[in-house]
């Protein structure tokens, strides 16, 4: 989906001084096969996660399912954690793209937020093991993955911000961003409570509805 994201380590074939134009080097057989490899690895990850959750995503199995060597998986994703976090970021980006095309139609900000997040949670509930694996990776994140964690939180906050001031095209106010951040934090914590088995899946919706009601007049 991303326009040929370079593989993880300093992309060895990064544009040298020879071609300083900003073109992201999207073409070439190498780039294409690399993108395909990356995609196979991510797909294999999702497949395994869907079957048995975090523990079922074993790097040797990912490599085998993606039909690449173990070392290649690590060339693209520095760790299992990062692999799952990148899958999570992609999932959230897909959700945002979908919402750009199908924005919520409810009349009030609170109703729109609740509608969007209920929809998202419905999807997450369909693949509880995938969600558990992703949320778990999110909760374990270390400094070396701070960039993706930030990306994921920014996407989630963006989704909520858009839902708040739905059809309007103005930039979000400072207060809207604050509220969106709080809702995102509630969302993440609540998902964590669900995948830990502390609360049922419905509790996520309830938490978000309550928070939205209190925060969005």
């Amino acid at each position: 989906m991303v326009p040929v994201p370079p593989p993880f380590p300093p992309p060895p074939n990064a544009e040298t001084a020879a071609d300083p134009d900003a073109e992201p080097a999207t073409e070439g057989a190498l780039a294409r096969s690399q993108a395909a490899r990356r995609r196979r690895v991510l797909d294999a990850t999702l497949q395994l996660a869907a079957a048995g959750g975090f523990d079922a995503v074993q790097m040797r199995d990912v490599a085998a399912a993606a039909d690449v060597a173990l070392g290649t998986v690590y060339r693209y994703f520095a760790s299992k954690e990062r692999l799952l976090l990148e899958a999570m970021a992609e999932q959230q980006a897909d959700l945002r793209a979908y919402l750009d095309v199908h924005p919520p139609r409810e009349p009030t900000p609170a109703a729109r937020v609740v509608s969007v997040l209920r929809g998202a949670n419905r999807s997450l509930r369909e693949f509880p093991d995938v969600t558990a694996a992703m949320v778990r990776s999110f909760g374990t994140a270390q400094i070396e993955n701070a960039d993706i964690v930030r990306r994921v939180t920014e996407i989630m906050t963006g989704i909520i911000t858009s839902a708040i001031h739905a059809p309007e095209r103005r930039p979000a106010t400072e207060n809207e961003v604050r509220v969106a951040r709080i809702l995102m934090q509630v969302w993440l914590s609540s998902l964590n409570g669900w995948v830990c088995g502390v609360d049922g899946p419905d509790r996520v919706d309830e938490d978000l509805a309550a928070a939205a009601a209190l925060l969005l007049p």
Copy 2:
């Protein structure tokens, strides 16, 4: 601190039918040495975590530092994750006990909540590696640790609830509990952002102050 918490697996020396009185069997050389062992293990855990965070808490080292066999550590704590979560629960329980004696004196609920949580965060910042280890364990939690996760969240929510209706002795209203839960979720998410390196430690205080201002009129 807890009145002789029984070791993890079905405490083998649990009161059999012979002594049905509810006395928690706090006495006896066995119970005493077990309590001491448990304490040594927890202390060793904190010591190692303070030195190098989650990764420095290696079960073999914990066993050695606590002067017990590796198998004994696992008899008391089913996993490294659980070990750290129990330490976290104890830490939170200590905080609550302290606050019962030194409740916040600010005039408004929001100010009291902010005061209490700022104080807690100040302590957490003094031992960032310990905090990181605990928060990380919290974020990784699995179903088999749902009970401690619930205990930790309940203690945190209780701390916040008490701060909201400070000196008053009435039970919390339904709305207060809802607000307290949201604040706890913001707290946990924000701590996660800090230990992940996504945000600086001050962001935790800022998030909580903003949320408290919005939620507590």
